[in-house]
């Protein structure tokens, strides 16, 4: 039982970290800070615009695989993975 609890706590911590990154790349860089970031350019892209239309999407993809990978390890560590 206690192992299930610590598994759940580690999961929540991991989710929280991922959600912070999720928020930063979309809402913070893509919307809230878009104007100051637009002063920085990468090629023809203004940076804020790039995060809103390109960058955030790439980060989302990486984030899900990162989470899935970490969770698979966490499942094993706490012995709660499914039977093969």
């Amino acid at each position: 039982m206690s192992d299930k609890n610590s598994y759940w706590k580690s999961n929540l911590k991991l989710v929280a970290i991922c959600m912070v990154i999720w928020f930063i790349v979309s809402y913070l860089f893509g919307i809230i800070l878009v104007e100051p970031l637009n002063n920085i350019r990468i090629g023809g892209y203004k940076l804020g615009f790039w995060f809103a239309q390109q960058g955030s999407i790439y980060v989302f993809v990486v984030l899900i695989f990162f989470y899935a990978n970490r969770m698979a390890k966490l499942d094993k560590k706490h012995g709660v993975e499914e039977d093969e």
């Binding site: 919307i31 023809g44 809103a52 955030s56 999407i57 790439y58 899900i64 899935a68």
Partner: protein
Amino acid sequence: MELQTLTYLVVGATFALYIGIAIWARAGSTKEFYVAGGGVHPVANGMATAADWMSAASFISMAGLIAFMGYGGSVFLMGWTGGYVLLAMLLAPYLRKFGKFTVPEFIGDRYYSKAARIVAVICLIIASVTYVIGQMKGIGVAFSRFLEVDYNVGLSIGMGIVFFYAVMGGMKGITYTQIAQYCVLILAYTIPAIFISLSLTGNPLPQIGLGSTMTGSDVFLLDRLDAVLTDLGFADYTTNARLSLTNMFMYTMSLMIGTAGLPHVIIRFFTVPKVKDARTSAGWALVFIAILYTTAPSVAAMARLNLIETIEPSPGEYMVYEQRPDWIRNWETTGLLAFEDKNGDGRIQYTSDAATNEMVKVDRDIMVLANPEIAGLPNWVIALVAAGGLAAALSTAAGLLLAISSAISHDLLKGVFKPNISEKQELLASRIAMAGAIAVAGYLGFNPPDFAAGTVALAFGLAASSIFPALMMGIFYKRMNKEGAIAGMLAGITVTLLYVFQHKGIMFIPSTSFLGDMSENWFFGIEPNAFGAVGAIFNFAIAMIVSRVTQAPPEHIQHLVEDIRVPAGATGAVSH
């Protein structure tokens, strides 16, 4: 070969392929009809989810809207991809562990209440039907163009085909069909984008091309677009926000949580073999979706630039109306593109000033389909785009109709009103429900509340305000009880529906908007399409308050919640 013949051939061939697969995998039992026996590989499931997900809104409509909204269109890009992060982390693995067929089933069991299940079914039907209206708009646009008929005629033909198509196969048919549809639609989307990016910037990758300089000059494409637009009196492309940053924030949030609350997407994660696969499956789905979503901004910007340069080939020199290209004539037939030579000079001026602008109607939903023609690409590319657009619209419409029909036949009839119904009767009921949903959505599609993507955004708001909070609290908040969940769902969807109906009309019939669609009446300047996020906040708040003052859920429910939080002991989706 002539364009129309070629389009018939390509569209016909792809349809034959989908229908062939559907017949080959025709659903035998109810279990197969809903979840394809629970044995679909994560990559395959991800690809099918992507096809299911990317509808007429993503394929036909979104880039056209972005083309005219510029930076403001980012809400669709972030909103419709970021929701997968929520889905993968907050819902998919747990719902898979729970191992039932439908979303209302989870809500009914978790909240130990038939009433909760019925409320969930109603919310689900409202959101899904709205979503199908958006698909019908897209289908109507695509059929009207390639049959060269009026939009209303195109829509009527489209309704018939959707009905035939959705009734044919169950989920299994649909899973394999959707893999084929994904391939068709992604090729149809990226091939013209590559051609256009290559011709405008010399870079074949549209994602890079958008940030590159124009061929034969050292001006960046986006800077050129900004300059051309400001010359015509429009706002800057790259900095023009959608109403306000607050509105964009709420709009994006509404689409994200709506993504994680829409039943036809969630249902996908019941079909993977394991809990672990539900997480990676969401990742794969997003990979396949991101291919289109990172291409869309380039399609948008380049289409806008090409459109302007068709109307105004060089500064101050406008297109002669009598010499307009064929694609313009064809779209004029559909009634979705219209010109009016206001100053009688025989030329078409395009400006931001409504008094002198002579391109009086450009339905945003035609941009993606017209894009290859505007850019003068070969006919086979144009035919392929038509096939892709139809694939996108049909696959999603089919997935949604399945969700609607299973909500009615499985959740309402079998789950609540007639538990002893036979498999055969259940299947029949689900088909009748499908036909009914197509008729309602098609009827409302003759006067859609918005462009396809905007209509779909309304559906997301409705899902965001009702289903998502109930699911999330069901997993993450053990203390949430039936009273809280039911009150929350009702509050969320009521607030959102009232706001939407007040501005867009009851059941989206414009003449019934009781206070008129007045932007000065918008709450904090938030448009109806973005209001789902506010509805969701209401849902969470009301649910929390009500659950605090009512009895805690029974012991066995608390155990159920603990159980779905760990992957061990998962079984396949089971009939019961």
